[in-house]
Structure formats: structure tokens, C-alpha cells
Subunit: 352 residues, 2 copies
Amino acid sequence: MQRKSTTLKDVARIAGVSTATVARVLYNNGYIADETRTRVQAAIQKTGYRVNTVARNLRIQRTASIGHILTGIVPNPFFAGVALGVEQEASQHGWSVLMVNVQGDAQRERLGVETFIQQRMDAIMFTTPVSEANVRLALEAGIPVVQVERPTSIATHMVVVDNYAGSTEAIEHLIGLGHRRIVFIGGDPAVRSADKFFGSYVEEERLAGYRDTLCKYGLPFDERLVILGQYYSMNEPFETDIPLKPLLQGAERPTAIFATSDMLAARVLQEIYACGLRVPGDISVIGYDDTFARYLAPPLTAVQQPMIDLGKTAVRLALQHFQDEETPPAKPWQQVKLPTHLIVRSSTGPVR
Amino acid sequence: MQRKSTTLKDVARIAGVSTATVARVLYNNGYIADETRTRVQAAIQKTGYRVNTVARNLRIQRTASIGHILTGIVPNPFFAGVALGVEQEASQHGWSVLMVNVQGDAQRERLGVETFIQQRMDAIMFTTPVSEANVRLALEAGIPVVQVERPTSIATHMVVVDNYAGSTEAIEHLIGLGHRRIVFIGGDPAVRSADKFFGSYVEEERLAGYRDTLCKYGLPFDERLVILGQYYSMNEPFETDIPLKPLLQGAERPTAIFATSDMLAARVLQEIYACGLRVPGDISVIGYDDTFARYLAPPLTAVQQPMIDLGKTAVRLALQHFQDEETPPAKPWQQVKLPTHLIVRSSTGPVR
DNA sequence: CTGAAAGCGCTAACAT
DNA sequence: ATGTTAGCGCTTTCAG
């Protein structure tokens, strides 16, 4: 907003018409004489006029902007994927997106929401809300909210992933390869106990898929093969040790491991190699997310999350509120569940 | 901007004062009677008033917002790091950031700049501009510009990395371990020939560091050990093959490989393993960026780029324009060069 | 087909 | 210590 730029008024003066007329040619509204249009367009050209969105927004009482709150765009590339999807879909519809990374901090999240309200964002998205209270805050300001991937129990639009199916598909793949002793390793749901989530935790859904699939194929569910820990950190990429060695060096070594993120799977690979084992020769590994799975050695079989699509869908839900502006009968919140896909690469193979 | 929210005027009416008075307590400006302040604060509390930033921006002719254009936040996590740095530093100073991902597309980049101009962003940042013309576009609109990491030849603020030193440090580390046949693998500078860059290409700087260091230690520069290719793609993560096998299976096998990104290094590891070799036993590998280097097997020695700091510094440069508003003698564009650090992990070892 | 004019919600002189 | 008021740049009725 540096040096003063051309205004509509300037253009009008130069073209010798009123501001209303300029606005008409700008938005192709109403009748306008061809000759006038040409004259106005020439003036626009000449001055390099560009509409002042700030003034426009004030006038029309909309900003066509989405505030996007991310738990942490780093270190897990999953979030960058969602952010990209959000931005792409938004800009395709002429919307803008403001982004705030809170790195897991509820206080910063609150500030983000507060700012977004002040900026009069037309919608607010949480790609993984940290605190319920902040979701409520946005809602109370009368702003449509979309929660992505790990919604709280508060009713808003939601777009989630079919974690149960994703997990099921992974385990079935392993069972199909002859595996019977399969480790499940994931973040501990209890860690997020501060908030109540809608439905069940992502991690719980995946665990349920694991358990039910074993059951379905008549395999025993062995609690010792389930490893849950607080492996996620927004700032320090997992310094926590993964208690896998005992299993790997024990008598009844598992033949496959299902990890609930690529980052975790990568750590699992490191542990496996440290024990002198080979993948998939001695043990198969499946990751989740499909972020940098393809870059690991060997290229990792992984449950692919529809990151981009998650973001795009979230935007579509938000835009709905404004599409049919004539239908104020505020439609209820919607929940969309997206499928996952198992990408089979080289980290899984038949059991020996 | 949904349902009509409380305005300053409302608050004034309820508190029984003028809007000017409310503004005074809001910003703690000028004299105000304690009693009045209390009354106003009560009214603010009661109504849940929140300043309308849109109106405010129009009035003060500033937006306190930065438009951030990213070549592609996916797939290289490097960009997410920069984006985080930008956002953190901005919000710490009460600034907002709009983000646009152009995924390497000059057309989309242009649209992004155009939008940012219309939104009256106070500054525009390019984390790796795609096209010179777009940088110029922003500049012509009178908006301060910061180019990050791979600036074009256009003069603006710039924050870059000391690629030469980064490369030098990596090669010295290898030479110190006794390596003499070291492969350099990187993106081909010629690929970006469409634009002229300021100083030299990032890749060229790194190559120069490699070459000069070999020279310094009296080692021969062997062109056959330099592999340059178009390994980067914004959308499909490198499908291109890396022509490394001939070298790995040849007579005089190199004992170390220096790759100019983690993504490339990851691919190199895969090739090495495919040839049945071990790291670092048979061959050492160094990556660049230090994004997911720690997650590879073995954990990768890598030249760490100051991603967050790159972003933060860029914001600081942009803010300078507004700090000392009284000094209109527009100070010249500044260029800041940030250091890299070699993070030694387990992918490098003494030559056998 | 075109123009006049009323604000959107706020800030900052300028008065008092 | 507080109030009045003139815009910021734009959109959109309402008149003609």
C-alpha cells in the first residue's frame, strides 16, 4: 500500500465518466455504450489501474478469504500437502488464504483465530485443531468452520480420512503375503486426552482396523505387538526411542510392522537395520501418509492419504456457504470421509 | 464477514461516548478519564467487539500483510521450512501472510503477484521466483520485494545461502575421511537457462565449492564424476533415472557421493543398495538441505540449510521499510547471506 | 445508458 | 478530556 496508486476515481476522471460507469465496465454489469466502454478501458490501460481489494471488501462485506490454521507444517510433510490443496482449490475460485502455523500450541492457535476474526475471514479451517475452545471461538464469531483430519467433538464441517479402511487394507496386504505376527506401532491416543474428539481418534480407528482384520482372518490379537507411544513432536523430530529392539531380537520375531506414519516407519527401518535385519527379506514394513515413503530404502509400501484432496474438499465445503447465497436456511454441517489407497512398493514381501 | 458484527459505533453508543473516545482506549492514545475508560472497556467486553481490520486497513493505508509466493511447497520440505520461518517472524510482529504456491508455473506466479497487488500487500516475497518478469511486476507496483534463495538478476532485497561454503565443508569432511574419488550429483544449471540469476546459480556455486576444494587438496577434478541432470519436478517426484549404476559397477568405483538435496541423496541411497553396496562401508553419502536426512537409513550426513532463518530474515528485511517510516530516503536493497552447517550423521565414514 | 450519492467501519485531524 | 467530522476506495441503489 506504499505509494498512492490509481483509484477508480482517477480512471473515471480521465475517461470523463462517473465512477459508477467505470465499475460497470469493470464487472460487465448493466448496459454500457460500446464507445464508453472503450474509453474507460483505455483509461484503465493507461493508468494501470488495479482494484483496491481492501476497499472493495469493506464495501461488499466479504473478503473471499480463508484463514487456515495448521497444527504444524513442519516436520510432517502431510500438512504441507493439505496446505497445498487448500491453496489450490481456493485460488481456483478466486479466494485467498491466510495461513497460520501454531506448531501444536493452543495459545498461538487462539491468537490465530482471533486475528482471522478481525480480518473478517469468510471461513476458518483447522487442519487438526489443537483446542476445542478455539474452534468454538471461531464458531461464535459466526464464521463457518471446517475441521480437517482430526476434528474435535464440536460440530462443524469436517473432512476426514477413512482410517479404518486404510488400516484394514494394509493388514490384509500383509496377511495375504503370509504374515501372522504383525506389529502395530503408532502414536498413543491417550496423549491427546486433553480434548475429546469426534467419533474416535485417528489412531484408534487404525488400531481397530488392525485388530478387526486379524480377527477376521482368525489370527490372534497379541497385545505385546501393539506399541503406542508419544512419538510425535512439532519441534524436535522424534527424539524418543522406539522400543522395538526387544521384539526384533526376541525369540518370536515379528515378520511385519505396520507404522501409522511415514516418519515412524522411517525410524522403524533404522531400528531394523541396526539389528542387522533386512527389509523385506527378514521383515516387511508398511508406512502411513505416503509423504516421503518413496524416498526410503527400500521404497516403502504405504497407505496413501489424500492430502491434496483433503485440502480441496475442505475448501469446497467452506465455499458452499457462499454459492447459494439465496438459501439462508443454513444447511447443517457436513462430514466428508475420503478413502485411502495402499501403495505397494518394495518394503513388503512374502514371509519366509 | 457473515452476520453483522459489532462496530466501533455500537460500542460508542453503548458506552455513551464518541467513536473517537473508543478508539482512544483501544489504542491507548491521548488522555482519557479513568472512569470513561472503564465504561468503554465494559462496553467492549459486553459486545464482544473486535476491530474490523478491513476497514482499518483502508483507513490507515497499510495492511501489515506479506504476500508469499512459493515455487512449490511440495514435494521438497525445504519450502515448508521457509514458509514456517516467514509466518513465524511475521506473526511475531503482528503481520499476516498470504501464501500462494505456484508449483513452478510462471503463469500462476503472475496471477499471484497480481492478486497481491490488488490486496495491497505491504511486501511481496518470492521463495524462489519462477520468472523475472513477475518480480518486476511487483516492483513496478511500488511494493518492496524480497527474493529468497535463488534470486533473479533483478535488484531487490535478497536472502541467500552460502552455497559455496556449504559445498566446501561437505567435501572437506569427505577428504578428511580419506576419500579421493567423490561424485558430485546435482540439478543441471542449464535447466534454468530461461532466466538469468543474480550472481551465479545455486548449483554452480556448489559445484565451484566442490571443484575448488578438490583442487585445494591436490585432488584431480574428474568430469566423469560430475552428474548434472534435471532431477527436480514440482509435481512428479523425480521419475527421472539417475545414471549412477555405471559408476557404481565400474572399475574405479567412487568412495563418496555428494548430492545437492536430500531428495536426490535418498535416490542415490536406493541406487547404491540396488547395487548391493553398503553405506558408509562401501561408499559414503552426503545430502543437502537437511530436511528428511535424519529419517533415512543410515541417518544422512547433510549440509543443513537454515530454512526457518531464511524465512525470518526475509521478513525482517521487508519490515525494515516500515520500521523507520520517517526516513523516506529509500535505503538500497540489501543482500543477506546465511551460513550452512554440516550435520554429521552415519552415512559418511573413513574410506576403506 | 449514465450519474449522484450514500455508506461499509475505521482513524486522525481539528475543535472545543 | 472528549466530540465532530472528513475521508480511505469502492459498490450499488436510485434517479434521470
